[in-house]
């Protein structure tokens, strides 16, 4: 049942500085609200404790897609629609654009943010495997200062992260070098229906080969097969420096099989998640080999 709204309060900060000051002053008890597309679901389901929220949607400092010499910079409030429509993103980060296009449906894409997807920390978050593939770094900030965390070290367990209670995600930085060397890539999402579906399986793969045809950079990232979205580093290491052939593909798929720990839940079965992850990965490698 819906939680009574009278037991919730919302603060409207005037700037990022103001927001961070209020978060600190509250002793970390303010819940940031960006697009609200996760929070409102929890509110409606009554699965969230009454308390105070801080509405960061109006903080323009956290909005927008930009770049500097070395990185693409995505403000935490960047929406899926903005990602989909950005020519820079389309050209440089196709996996992220593809992922954004599969989130919910248009209304959710207009309102849901990248920062929210990261902070919410669902293992089924659709943007997360692509961010892993591109070696994203997360800039977080509090009154105590700023720091940058490599995304693959961001989560510490199921829906738990290094983000402190008084910290906000400020922006996502993606090294241009990583984007440039992504190579052949593939995004997969399998849900229960074609729109408005939380993923049963979500993943992103990328494979780059040098002049000699040997794999020199490879990323294998999956969601929904472990408590957190993760990179399969053993598989990546196994492939790196090698030439794709039938034997290598078979052994890589076998390693992936060993590396994932999917579960049964309301959306799917462990068995199905495993099968589909392996088949899609195998097909990706085979197609890369043929191209």
């Amino acid at each position: 049942m819906r939680a009574p709204l009278s037991q919730f309060g919302v603060e409207s900060p005037s700037s990022l500085e103001d927001a961070l000051a209020r978060m600190e002053a509250s002793g970390g008890r303010l819940t940031p609200m960006a697009g609200g597309t996760d929070l409102y679901v929890y509110l409606n389901a009554g699965s969230i404790e009454p308390g105070r929220w801080i509405d960061i949607w109006g903080l323009d400092e956290l909005r927008g897609i930009a770049e500097d010499k070395t990185h693409y910079l995505l403000g935490a409030l960047t929406t899926y629609s903005q990602i989909r429509k950005s020519p820079v993103m389309q050209q440089a980060l196709p996996l992220l654009v593809e992922a954004a296009a599969t989130v919910g449906a248009v209304a959710i894409q207009n309102r849901g943010t990248l920062g929210g997807n990261i902070a919410n920390g669902s293992p089924a978050g659709d943007s997360l495997p692509s961010l892993l593939v591109y070696d994203a770094e997360i800039d977080v900030r509090s009154v105590r200062g700023s720091r940058s965390v490599p995304f693959h070290q961001f989560y510490t367990g199921y829906r738990a992260s290094v983000l402190a209670k008084d910290e906000l995600i400020e922006r996502i930085r993606i090294p241009k070098a990583a984007a440039a060397r992504a190579g052949a890539s593939r995004f997969i999402k399998v849900g229960t229906r074609a729109a408005q579906a939380i993923s049963k399986v979500v993943g992103a793969f990328a494979l780059h080969r040098g002049e000699d045809g040997k794999i020199d950079r490879c990323r294998v990232a999956l969601g929904s097969v472990a408590p957190v979205p993760c990179r399969m580093t053993q598989v990546e290491d196994h492939l790196t420096g090698q030439t794709l052939d039938g034997e290598l593909i078979a052994s890589a798929v076998e390693l992936l099989d060993e590396g994932i720990k999917p579960i049964d839940d309301i959306r799917s079965t462990a068995r199905y998640r495993r099968f589909v992850s392996l088949r899609v990965f195998e097909r990706f490698l085979q197609e890369s080999r043929e191209s």
Binding site: M1, R2, P4, L5, S6, V41, N44, A45, A105, V190, T192, R193, A194, A195, Q196, A197, I198, K200, I266, S268, T269, R271, Y272, F275, V276, R279, V280, R283
Partner: protein, 781 residues
């Protein structure tokens, strides 16, 4: 009375017309129950049971009542009156009396100044429960209950939780199975699906100082709500007025009188103020009344002539916590299965049990969907085993028109064979069946459905539908009927029937329906009865007015009445067409010295059916027939099914408004595909795990296949302008036709719904393993 000669070509029947309320709905001008704002209205909220089965040891409402802003609280202790949609199983109360029987059962209701206060008050009500063992699996409800207190309801079969048992046998099924050329058996399991209509339940009750109760509610059957309110409030029927505002979809889910409607009435009577209760989506899921899950065992026999000689059905039906329409459901799972085929021996044994889960009820295709699925899938298997074309096998077995079935249904118009042939031709069936590339498949299935129940659920000599018409000097035609337009377009249908008879454009018609003070009684929008019954009533009323207008024209011109027709707002003497006058001239003459023209038309089904127990169930003045062919693609790596195209042939007698019929066919396909592919209640200890539209997956627009509607117009002799139903029958064949197509694509047979990508992948893998086993054996040999 003869039809207007130009009826077939002229007029509004058969035209593609937008619904009369379409503009208001799309602009937001339409008034739904929640849009109604009466002064001084209180917000009503309901405290619901957290337990699947428990005794209420005590309820303390004192703290809630003491909260400033709370106007009234009611509990079951104050009103123990029973009600229920069927007179034979009235097992509901406004609020739980002594015990709760499902998670979500109504325990207490509060009326307060605003929603916040009402919610806070709910939290202040103390309920002391003694938790009872819960019956969650239908099999458990078949057994004797050791402690009678633990029975879900007092009135059941013996000491079990069986609500209703039906046994019927026509011919000799055992002999048919023994003598058959081939027999196929199957055990099927069907999950729990719900209507997922757009508008949540909403009600406003106003008990005024004159001692009159008015109830606005999102309901399909104002008349049944009216009857139940009499039982619960004790007020005389004439002191109660029930109004149905615009309804945002119902599909059977608003055809019972509901406890929240009763609770709103009681709260208003207690507080003396209007009370509104609007459900949130979770409450909609918990009050449910959706399709009954079943476990269906079936055997089908084909004799040496290729005729279906035996159908043996045994169904266990999970009813949830209340009776609702369940007695009807129990019959329908059997009696609506044999047709559209000429089955010579038929046996049915059905049991509906109570369980401690949200109640099941009527849902589009009521009672017929699951048995239809099992039967159509087995026919496909039989055809496969015999190496025959499943469409040809069906063509050989269809009921003819104008016949009587083995269970004594009167069959009149029947265009099923024409539908099958047209669907085969349009889909390229002969070139595709068993010839499409791997992963792609095509499948067929058929169906039939009642066009209104011939016998009403309350025994009465009253007509089943009555329509009043009034025409005054302004020339507009006012239609009054108790019918409930719930989005299906019944107001439009009434206007069309009247406009057609009077030769008028739709713009002259105004339709007022579903207000018990203003409109004659109608039995409501369920069992696909409205077009057939109320349409006939409207036509008959209009025919009387037509007679009056023609007599006036005859008086004015001196020509005999027999030669006049009404068309294009003119009254024309056909033997000499220059003898004519405008509709308004004839009307002015007809009104002279008398005032407004008033007419009443009504409909009552003719007597029909057999004399055996349960013979009335499934009887209908006519039946609709369907033949569908579906084409699918199955992704062999993810198990995903994409339905590419459906050729949907539906015999609706006559398409009064083709776009309305097509809308019903397409909507039925969408709903049926949801049950087949993705919709399902998930439970844990009697708790619904997915009571929201994100986790309960109806299909999105992206999954909707292209639908080619093939409208078969068999012209029913008793239907209004030849029409019969199109709202429910079109759902039936979509599930088995797609299941049969999936088999054609990847060789997987479906025994459990919904069929998930997980199941399909598992099926594909199993087939592969069996095939490689066979290959290995061949190699060894």
């Amino acid at each position: 009375m003869s039809e207007p000669k130009s009826g077939a070509a002229k007029g509004v029947i058969g035209q593609r017309l937008p619904l009369v309320d379409a503009r208001k709905k799309t602009t937001g001008e339409a008034v739904y129950t929640d849009d109604i704002r009466l002064p001084n209205t209180l917000v009503g909220k309901i405290l619901r049971s957290p337990h699947a089965h428990a005794r209420i040891k005590g309820i303390d409402t004192s703290r809630a009542l003491a909260l400033p802003g709370v106007a009234a609280v009611v509990t079951g202790a104050e009103n123990r009156a029973n009600f229920g949609v069927l007179p034979i199983s009235k097992d509901e109360t406004a609020l739980a009396v002594d015990k709760v029987i499902f998670v979500g059962d109504q325990v207490a209701a509060v009326a307060a100044e605003d929603e916040e206060i009402a919610l806070e008050a709910l939290g202040l009500i103390q309920v002391d429960y003694e938790v009872y063992p819960a019956f969650l699996q239908p099999e458990d409800s078949l057994k004797d209950v050791a402690d009678p207190a633990h029975k879900i309801h007092a009135r059941t079969v013996g000491e079990t939780n069986v609500h209703k048992q039906v046994d019927q046998h026509f011919g000799d099924v055992d002999a048919a199975l023994k003598d058959a050329r081939i027999v196929r058996r199957g055990h099927f399991e069907f999950g729990s699906v719900t209507h997922a209509f757009t508008e949540p339940h909403c009600v406003i009750a106003r008990y005024d100082t004159d001692g009159k109760l008015t109830l606005w509610s999102a309901t399909q059957v104002p008349h049944y709500v009216h009857r139940a309110l009499v039982e619960v409030t004790g007020l005389p029927m004439h002191a109660i007025r029930v109004i149905k505002p615009m309804v945002g979809g119902a599909f059977g889910g608003k055809s019972d009188p509901f406890p929240h409607e009763m609770a709103a009435a009681l709260l208003s009577m207690k507080s003396g103020r209007p009370v509104k209760i609007l459900f949130d989506r979770e409450e909609v899921f918990l009050s449910h009344h959706g399709r009954h899950p079943t476990k269906t065992d079936i055997a089908v026999a084909l004799d040496r002539d290729g005729k279906i000689s035996g159908l043996d059905l045994k169904v266990l039906i999970d009813g949830g916590a209340w009776g609702s329409f369940g007695v009807v459901t129990t019959y329908y799972n059997g009696v609506l299965s044999a047709g559209p085929y000429d089955v010579s021996n038929f046996r049915y044994s059905g049991k509906r049990v109570y369980t401690n889960k949200p109640p099941c009820g009527a849902m589009r295709g009521h009672g017929a969907v699951n048995s239809r699925f099992a039967f159509e899938v087995l026919l496909d298997e039989i055809a496969e085993e015999l190496g025959e074309d499943p469409c040809e096998l069906r063509l050989k077995n269809f009921l003819p028109e104008y016949t009587t079935t083995i269970n004594e249904f009167r069959i009149t118009s029947n265009g099923i064979a024409e539908g099958m042939l047209r669907a085969m031709e349009r889909s390229g069936w002969k070139e595709k069946y068993r010839q499409l590339p791997p992963g792609r498949g095509i499948g067929a299935a058929c169906g039939f459905y009642i066009s209104g129940s011939a016998l009403p659920i309350h025994w009465s000599k009253l007509p089943q539908s009555t329509v009043h018409l009034k025409i005054d000097m302004d020339g507009g035609v006012t239609v009054h009927a108790g019918t409930a337009d719930i989005g299906q377009g019944s107001d439009t249908m009434l206007a069309q029937c009247v406009a057609q008879v009077l030769g008028l454009p739709m713009s002259r018609l105004r339709v007022y329906t579903a207000d018990s003070d203003m409109d004659p009684v109608d039995l409501g929008s369920y069992s696909s009865r409205v077009t057939f019954m109320a349409g006939n009533a409207a036509r008959r009323a209009a025919e009387q007015i037509r007679t009056e207008l023609i007599e006036a024209a005859s008086r004015l011109t001196g020509y005999p009445a027999e030669g006049f027709v009404l068309e294009d707002e003119l009254v024309v003497y056909t033997p000499l067409p220059r003898i004519r006058m405008s509709y308004m001239e004839a009307l002015t003459e007809a009104l002279a010295d008398r005032g407004a023209l008033i007419a009443r038309g009504s409909y009552q089904s003719p007597p029909m059916g057999g004399k055996f127990k349960g013979a009335a169930a499934g009887l209908s003045p006519t039946y609709s027939f369907q033949s569908y062919i579906s084409e699918v693609t199955v992704d062999e790596e993810t198990g995903f099914v994409k339905v590419e195209k459906v050729w949907a042939a539906h015999d609706c007698g006559r398409a009064l408004n083709p776009i309305a019929v097509e809308g019903q066919v397409e909507g039925s396909i969408h709903m049926g595909l949801g049950q087949l592919l993705s919709e399902q209640f998930r439970y844990h200890d009697g708790n619904v795990l997915n009571p929201n539209l994100l986790d309960y997956k109806t299909l999105s627009a992206k999954e909707m296949p292209e639908v080619e509607c093939i409208l078969i117009e068999s012209g029913d002799p008793e239907g209004p302008f030849g029409a019969k139903e199109c709202g429910e029958g079109p759902l039936l064949p979509i599930l088995p036709s797609v299941a049969n197509a999936i088999h054609d694509a990847v060789g997987v047979r479906i025994r459990r719904l919904p069929v998930t990508p997980e199941d399909i992948l598992q099926g594909i893998q199993k087939n592969r393993m069996e095939r490689s086993d066979v290959a290995a054996k061949i190699r060894v040999a």
